[in-house]
Amino acid sequence: MADTQNRRVVVTGLGATTPLGGDVPTTWQAVLDGTPGATPLAQDWAQLYGLPVTFAAQLAVPPIEVLAKVETRRLDPSAQYALIAAREAWADAGSPEVDGERLGVVVASGIGGVWTLLDQYDVLKEKGARRVFPLTVPMLMPNGPAAAVSLELGARGGVHTPVSACASGAEAIGYAAEMIRSGRADIVVAGGTEAAIHALPIAGFAAMQALSTRNEDPGGASRPYDTSRDGFVLGEGAGIVVLESEEHARSRGAHVYGEIAGCGITSDAHHIAAPDPVGAGAPRAIPPAPAEPDGAPSDVVHINAHATSTPVGDVAESASIIKALGSAADGVAVSATKSMTGHLLGAAGAVEAIFTVLALHHRLAPPTINLTDLDPDVHLDVVIDKPRALAGGDLLALNNSFGFGGHNVALAIRSAS
């Protein structure tokens, strides 16, 4: 194929299932409305196990309401969410005709099929090996959701699952963009999924003191940048985008939401869970990596921040943004949408990439809720309570994602021209 290097990568389809809605339009409207997504847990894990956290940002529409019963039996919840989001994204892209060998899938997960793993361990202990479900391994493996999406769409151009904790979803989109840029694929379905609202992950995060314990006020618990923030709110769901070479999208007259202008990926090598306090790693990911100098810092008008609502992380990210953008950070509309969705771990970067694409598409930076007293160590122009209008013209935005292990990913997204 002629000149397949450095092709431009556009976004032609969006799909999601989140704590705010079962699809992208419902979720986006809830974000603009400043709707909190966290609710009390249905399970009485506090009573059973002494869990100190009794709420989470649980999926708004249970998969059983949209999938066939057989699909819910044979797929881990993480794969169910991915399939729901992928179907929406693919339909939104107009169900494009594409050679399966030119179609790729990159769907990430931070934790993988933890429900299957733990449920089947219970079966093993209680009923013995013979009763363990034969699909246990394909259901618990972290590449299960990507595989399920590839089976659905007939994608034979490569199926991948980056695993980088809470940066996974963004890394998936970056990897997918590179597949198109380098000429490996014409279309890649990419994103992240997570279904880890289970007692064990909650207990583990709580043991790290990473979770908010504001049990009396779930909706007010995720409060990025607020002085009274006390940890993140565990969320679940999936976000999937359809990425396409600009040439391919134009040739079929596809609707273009925006462009993946670049993806910066760095690592801290500082600590397994804590961010580098001097911001040595993250700023090197922001803006796009040196190899992809598409968009100077001064172009950036909006950032969907990682901003999980942890005391240390939010301040470290603020320092990183200032360090990366310098005075160009002034007036950049920073949104912390985890204040509404909670933290979707491996899906967060993908769902927030969708928000970033839509913010440019609709020229509206989403609000940050629960921010009543801005931490004096946060020197950012945070969009609070109401959406903020963005200017017209050619705009660039960033979507930051950081993960345990020292993973830093910054996606640069440009408005559609």
Binding site: A68, K69, R73, R130, R131, P134, L135
Partner: protein, 82 residues
Amino acid sequence: MAHSEQEILSGLAEIVNEETGLPVDSVELDKNFTDDLDIDSLSMMTIVVNAEEKFGVRIPDDDVKNLSTVRDAVSYIHQAQG
């Protein structure tokens, strides 16, 4: 109390429906699990284990491969009830 062959057929059909989504009335005695119902070996194991629980029988793995048709399974379970 032993189940009749008709009860076993309808119970088996429910298990197959649960596992595969096939309509209950498509599970007929003459149907071949692999060729007609498109049930793979992994699904077959789940169906067997669920049938063991439902009908209180034991179907050793070595015998499962001889259960080609729905009739084979119904007869096996009926006799295994003792």
